[in-house]
Amino acid sequence: MSQTLEQFKQAIVAGDVDGSVALSAAIIAEGDATAEQITDHLSAAMEEVGSRYETGEYFIPEMLRSAEAVERSLAVLEPYLFERQHDQGGVVVMGTVKGDIHNIGKNIIVSALKAAGYEVHDLGVNVSTAKFIDKVKQVDADLLLLSAFTTSTRPALLEILAVLEDEGLRDNLKVISGGASHSPEFAREVGVDGFAVDVKSTLAVCRKLLGD
């Protein structure tokens, strides 16, 4: 079993879409992997992909290829995971804020979170405050992840936080932002609960804010 999982992880890192789909089927056939073992391998794979990007070994197409491998594998694995997964990683709503259409980084994070076992609702790009708020309520989200890549998105971020506050939604919801224009100062000024710069730090901050 552990060998199949290790091969599965390598296939995701290598962006081998067909290979990772085939290995997903093999994992199901073997039937002894726990949901946690699978998501651990998947998220380790996406962390590895992220770090290969940070070090310049991978470029955007290579990351997208691995993200596709994750999505396609999860489509196969979902029923298996659903049966076995008792405590979900948490419910996440994510999108790129109004006025901003950058989506590559967001898509990578969405895949990494799904890989790590989160239930992710991806709202896309140029998402209005109302849309974020509605979705957060509808799915009773634990985490709201906001991608903001240009500095001109600041008013949009502030507006979302203000509405969450007004509606009394911030107590049970952690808000995390990230994206190219982010610095620790920017995040602090805006007033989010957390911020991160890459796959690894994003997974870490999500874990931390959910208290595990």
Binding site: P61, I104, S152
Partner: protein, 347 residues
Amino acid sequence: MEGSSGAGREPMTPKQRFQAVLAGDIPDTVPIIPVIDGYYAPQVIGRANDECFMDGGCLAAALEGALERYGYDGTLAEMGLGSHPNVLGCPVEVEGNDVPLVVDTVVRDRRDLEKLAEPDPWSERKMEPVRRLVDSVGAGHAVLGSVRSPFEYAATVRGLVGFMTDFYRDPEFVHELIAATKPATLAVGRALIEAGVDALVIKDSFASSSMISPDHYRRFAFPAEAEVIGELAGEVPVILHICRNSMPILAEMARTGAAVLELDSPVDLAGARRVVGEGIVLKGNIDAVAVMEKGSVADVEQAVRVAIEAAAAEGRFILSTGDSIPLAAPEENVAALVEYGRKYGRY
């Protein structure tokens, strides 16, 4: 460079400065042509981006206004903010002072390639601001027309994520897309030349090694660049712009036939000069965000001095920002770019 060989000569006109540099001569002072486009310029004349979005008169007035206010040597002559994606039928929206957003893509699969068959860049409306700028400032200043590479148009019509996912999923489709958008680059380029621009900027925003591997650049982006530049460079000089880090692909860029390489801030200008040799003009590379938007006047001065010291000694250098100046860049910083460019750029 103050006090070196050119001292005492007649001052040149801005346009002569630009032409001298392209001819390989030493001008009186380093030409300054920052990337001030239809995104930054409207506010200079107190207009909003959505007003100038498809209004050629507003756009031309904005670019004229910025040129007059800051006194640099040449202007971009844009077709209108929505026009590039619009060239190939992508719907674009703009609100207030926001950046225009491409709200949808037009190519989902091969069948959609047919939709690209009839670009309409010749439309009077799109060339109107270009012609007006050629008339109003073109006698004394350099007027640069701006067009996107086939690779960039292909990414735009397909959507960047879909496009770059296709690199592995369906590389043949990537080639087909690029072939299908090539006529648009050529048509826009020719229309700009006909409208009287002094040079063409071909932007290939996604081709850098910050986004794709040098290997993918060589396979997909470079051949299309070389081909369109081959077709257009006979008429006017071509400036090739690639955003972010282009250091690993500079040697190829130098072989596209471009007369000028517009380099972004991650590129080390002295290193770039060593790679491309003497024949090519370098344009760059003040950081548009860290220096122009977020830096102080002192940061601008420092960056200008460093760029000129690194690249201007033997001529063949145009001082510029590495990419478009963001809307929020303070006026003082734009003014400082020109002021210190003149101060340190004298030959």
